[in-house]
Subunit: 253 residues, 8 copies
């Protein structure tokens, strides 16, 4: 602790960096930022934009950038992204925003993203799966994995699915996103020997709509799948990222 | 009406046959038998064994045999089948019982089953689909259709599914039965241009078990399906039988 | 394949037409268009407007028109329809839009819609069933069937239902749409020997509202019905169209 | 109160009768019997056999007979009925038991059932509706109404339904019982101007089974119905009995 | 029929009145109006404003006024009410609109509302029950019953409930509306010997919100109730109106 | 730790007592017994008999008696109770078993139950609430509270409820158990200023049966209640016991 | 009563105060205000802003201030708060509004809030729990308890939870709010011997979203919890307030 | 193919082995055995005993042993296990049966189980999690992983959970089983950087019982989890086995 305090006194650490080092989290007016989460559980702390005001999001993002050099925000709209850009305007951080998958990443030049020797394949049945698939891709990349997108291979045109098999078998772990009846992960898992994480998407209407049919079908699958909640691209991406970390660590041995 | 009454007086019609001709149904102590159903709606009246005592089932079956020459009973167990056999022991009727799919058919020698120039394909994902598939096959055959069974082609081993495609395309109408996640009808309907009736089966456990996941997946299917209730093999078979009747009538033109 | 490439070289095929011929689908910036779907599964590929921007819809519609001569769009609002009209303004295609049932069809002059010798009856209980019934009518017509509408015959005024019976019996296949308690398909199927596809509609409120009571009642029907999802007019229409195709093919023999 | 106590002292009242007069309920080892219920709310207190041991049922029935001269027990099986008969063996009470609808009524000779100038019609769709319909008939009769049964008029054979209309219109109030999709009350209420109480029955299987489809359909009915819970024949019968009481009182004026 | 046609020729009947007399319904561009409903089922045909455009509502209302002299519209907002007023501006009809309970009634001067010698009590637990209670009151009055409102007697302040008992016992039939846990109808039915129709209201939030807890509690009530769907004030009012008609007819004898 | 080990060596502590003192739990072949639970969370560790074999239950009970001098077992049937009695036959422990509420308590003579100066009132609507109410009473007594039962005061006979008010107001905390529509806790909480814990009971049938209507009604209550799960008498009793502990501690000050 | 009327005549009581004293409630155009609620059930009457117009809220609030000197309003937005401020502008009342937790309290200078010697701890898992936690804090304070907030201690960073234990153990009763999977109350109740009231929050999405997963997890908790409905901060606060009242009363002895 | 046929002719291959090599599956009277499943999808084909007769299970098991040298049967009771032992009595195969977790494995002496350099940790909250955890352990071991059980670390005694952390962090992948509220996987995943597969168990009763609360809580978890269906130990084990295969392959590089 004395080293940290000396560094603050010497101006080498900001107070926020020092608090994060000492207590594991940084405090802003909009809440706590769990700076130690990544080292403890392998998953970078991300800011969920949904349900927060642009001001709250930008304050938390600024704290994250100041503390650990990177802010990851999910479910953030244009107004939120603009607020973050403004808040970081004076800093050396650069901001990337994906308006389709609604995520934002800001990093300072010195930030080094992990680089894992492991590949995550992200498969979609159709274009309506783009948002959760994009969220999954974002976080898997930020955790250091190589990400490969294999899109639009839904089972209504089975030839497209079968054509993709050899490419699917080459990845270390797969995330397979589908809405409506959600059959794609079942079909894929019967064709490959890669672990498959099924990601149900909230498309569809009427009975079993909003992703419920897809979720229950994936839970009942006659092939081996693990599943995340409806539209939980972030969770699917972190789970794939953790598996990729284990594989990369094994390769590094 | 006078002709009917004359025929009764002359002993050419039993009272039950006469009642059926005049009012459209025969009455027994166990309830009414809708003798006119087949001519009106194309579907033979069947006796649901479930929830009836062996005595009630055998009384209704005897009335059916006496009135229209055939009794069809579904969801009937060994005790019920024995009671029907006993009740018909004095009559010239012959009894067939399928202890796997739990149906029984009794016919007098003079009974002529319709003979349609149309084929119904009944497809199952696995052996646990046998009971509702058997019920569907029974009623489609009794309505006069040719029935072809294509079993054990579930999507966990996709090659088996794909291998069956040319055989599937040759039928006039398909019933596709599946439990768990119920993906088979969706995959089949994407590969053939035949009408597909999806039959969800009450396998599976946990969330979406008892056929609910299969039903909701089939209702949400991204390919064109119509659906019947969980385990409703009888309904699937009659719907396929009605379609086969239309096709056969068109061929007869 | 060489023929196709020669034709492209000679300017007789656009690249999109060539891609569709070779790979079975055409690619646009907004996604893939499954050009081979109709030949494979008998159902024309349609574009679901719901959840797409006007720009995406119009891009996909233009690709469809360019590739196979016809674009069918469902669940498209006025803004989407205007975007499609603009996108096709330079082409010889003509556009029809139904603002009540929310569909749009664009065809080039050379496009020939199939013409089947088979009739689909579409029955509604009341005026609130118009949107899904209209969607069903659209796609059945585009598949080539003759479509006959029998409207406003709900069971609250049973005489209207009974009066329609002889007209209902003359169709080759019936779609019967109803909301609230959804009793109409059950009553109709007891009166005719035509196959009935039941289409539950998302009317009603409170317990069992949004079409759930109608759906579960149709699945439990004591007469022979197959069912589609709530408001799934498109699915009902394609299923009826596939049956009509089979009947027409039988008549053509 | 003094009169009651004098009567007990004189042996003209049993202690149970006296307690019931004074406090409104009689106490036995198996619980309280609400002797004042009928005078307060118009509905005779009945003993629900379900979930009680034969001993508890017979003790409560004996208390009821001793206190008000009649015991009504619903959902009572053969063992329970035998226990009640034994318990009342020494008394002058006579016992009727209906093994089909599972009710029992015991009365002392002096008991006078009310006699209302009003008729309740109880309508069933099929034989599987017999148990709740029988429970409804029991309690309506014990409240003094004339009860008329109109059985087996389900909508699958609509002619039977329509044939019964004039008979249905003659009753003062109707209970209409149906399972599966539960369409019969809706159809009946569109044909008569009598109040209809819809009684859903726990038949059916799969989605919407156990009476849930029937219940939700009746709640969504496009005709005017009030509804009771699934298999709640007792509640339907008491509601019809209360209406009959009001009508009979009006006739008595 | 000849008389009707003669009357049309003589200008004594409008074509709409003539069509209504002959076929039982009048046709407008916005759908059919079931003019014979009241004579057949005792319930006046009402127009549900919900889900219709102001134009459709006003067209149907004008047809109703022209045909039978009265239009009843439920779930109609200010825009709809204005459209109806405009449409009827040239006619002698007078329009009443209740902006709280969202109903509208238009009558021609010659219209005579039935006048029944029977009273309906409408009871509410709190102010949030006003809309469905108002709908119930409207239709009961239009059917001719006397209506008495007893408001704000919820069980949280039980003294208010108990204070109202003698007033409640004087009505011929009661409608009791309550949201949240819906306990009021149960408590009332234990205190009176009048038939009680329970009307669940869509208040409340979280688990069992939107009226589902109230509905299921009323269906499970340990006192005798019949129930209508959530917010179905119209259905509750018509059921009470039909009972009032029976009682009034009995009084008239 | 040295003291504990010395005591073991001296035979003053059994190894099980020593393990419990050192690690907080005792280990048997059938699982761990959390001996420190009561001191940490105020709630005595209890053994749930449901789903365990008689052998497992008796082994765990013996460990509990050996370690802390008392075993509390809930949901234990006659076979389980006999097994526990056998297992403790050689010990000085005495066993009480309640066959109605299915609990068992075994204590060694030296065991001293806490004795709190606080009273828990346990209220039931009817006799079917006895099992969860009995479970609640057991655990509240074992935690040291005085327990007072107020039975059979359901709202169908409101006078009985109101008569009990003064007695209810005298307790420090109330548990109110009810099934069916579960209205009793709402009514009670409106009449007293004591904290009320609502305990829904799994009576009832049809829609909202198995306690779901009672649970959702209690969660929606318009008076102030906290709620436990359906039939969770043990949880209700421990919550009341914890509140009684706080009150008794305050009184002891 | 005479005293009250004399006081009115003398101008010492307003008519509203007099009505509240005599009948237990005050009447305004927007409904009744239950002025006796606090003395009877220990819980101050509060006005639920949700679903009322600003005018209705301000009228009820003015009646409350006039009658008992304090108005508590929950779920009130900025427009409602402004309307109340306007309505009270002429009076000596002061208004506090919390725009985050959406509550408002207005008091006259003479109003004396109770002051209890008891402390309620209110614990949140994260910032999204602020609104219901704030509502709970408000009402507990208005009932006189000391309130201590312990925020942002969710189990994803378990160290934060464990760090708070000693502070949690010092309160007399705890409210623990959590959304998503709702694990925090279970973990807290295993660490403290204080009564815990679990407050599920409507965060989360997909299956089990809107607080349903949190609610069902809290009801199933393996530690001792009582639960309130989703987002029912008001109910949690009143329940904690009632417990605090009992403890404070015990301390006062 | 010729080689295979030559080997059959030479008696080096049984016909079953030959069929399995050529078509990918072996056929018995009881259904198909997918012999190629393991090579294709990495998961050994297992026989689900549930819903099959002892005769069918033993026939399939014999086919499996004959074809690939090993039979894995899950959800098999004592009768099924005895039938398999009998059927294999003449063969050199040895049979292991776990009567607690209900699995059976039979292997011929020559069978070589894979041996992966990777460890799966299987964690349970309590003893009621033993059956699905045992199923998971079985299949992970049969796929070649090292399996480590960490039992009885539920969050009600948080110290036990925290004590296990270092041991948990050493495994390559974790399966965490829990019933009731299912909080353990959430807590574990916040403490380790290993991928966690959550396995909900069908314990608990009342609302959210049968594992539904655990499943929905795990899907909503605020830490990174993937989930399998309720009691789906087999699926959890295969998913962990596939991840272990990837890690072991990486280590082998």
């Amino acid at each position: 602790m004395r080293d940290v305090l000396d560094a603050v006194a010497a101006g080498e650490l900001t107070p926020a960096e020092a608090e994060a080092k000492l207590s594991g989290y940084a405090t802003s007016g909009a809440g706590r930022f769990d700076a130690a989460r990544e080292s403890r559980s392998g998953v970078p702390e991300a800011i969920l934009g949904d349900g927060k005001t642009p001001g709250e999001v930008s304050e938390l993002a600024a704290t994250a950038v100041e503390t650990i050099g990177r802010a990851i925000v999910t479910r953030i709209d244009a107004a939120g992204a603009a607020a973050v850009s403004d808040a970081l305007g004076e800093t050396p951080a650069t901001v990337r925003w994906d308006g389709r998958a609604n995520w934002l990443v800001a990093t300072v030049p010195a930030f080094e993203r992990p680089d894992l020797d492991a590949a995550v394949g992200i498969v979609t049945a159709g274009t309506s799966d783009a948002v959760p698939a994009g969220e999954a891709a974002l976080i898997a990349r930020e955790m250091g994995a190589t990400v490969d997108r294999i899109d639009d291979v839904g089972v209504a045109s089975l030839a497209r699915t079968v054509d993709a098999v050899s490419r699917l078998r080459e990845r270390d772990v797969l995330i397979v996103a589908a809405g409506r009846e959600g059959a794609l992960p079942t079909v894929v898992a019967g064709l490959v020997d890669t672990p498959v994480i099924a990601l149900p998407v909230s498309t569809g209407y009427g009975h079993g709509g909003a992703g419920e049919a897809a979720l229950s079908g994936m839970l009942q699958s006659c092939t081996a799948l693990s599943v995340v909640n409806i539209d939980a691209g972030f969770t699917a991406g972190t789970q794939a990222g953790l598996i990729a970390r284990q594989i990369a660590a094994a390769r590094d041995r």
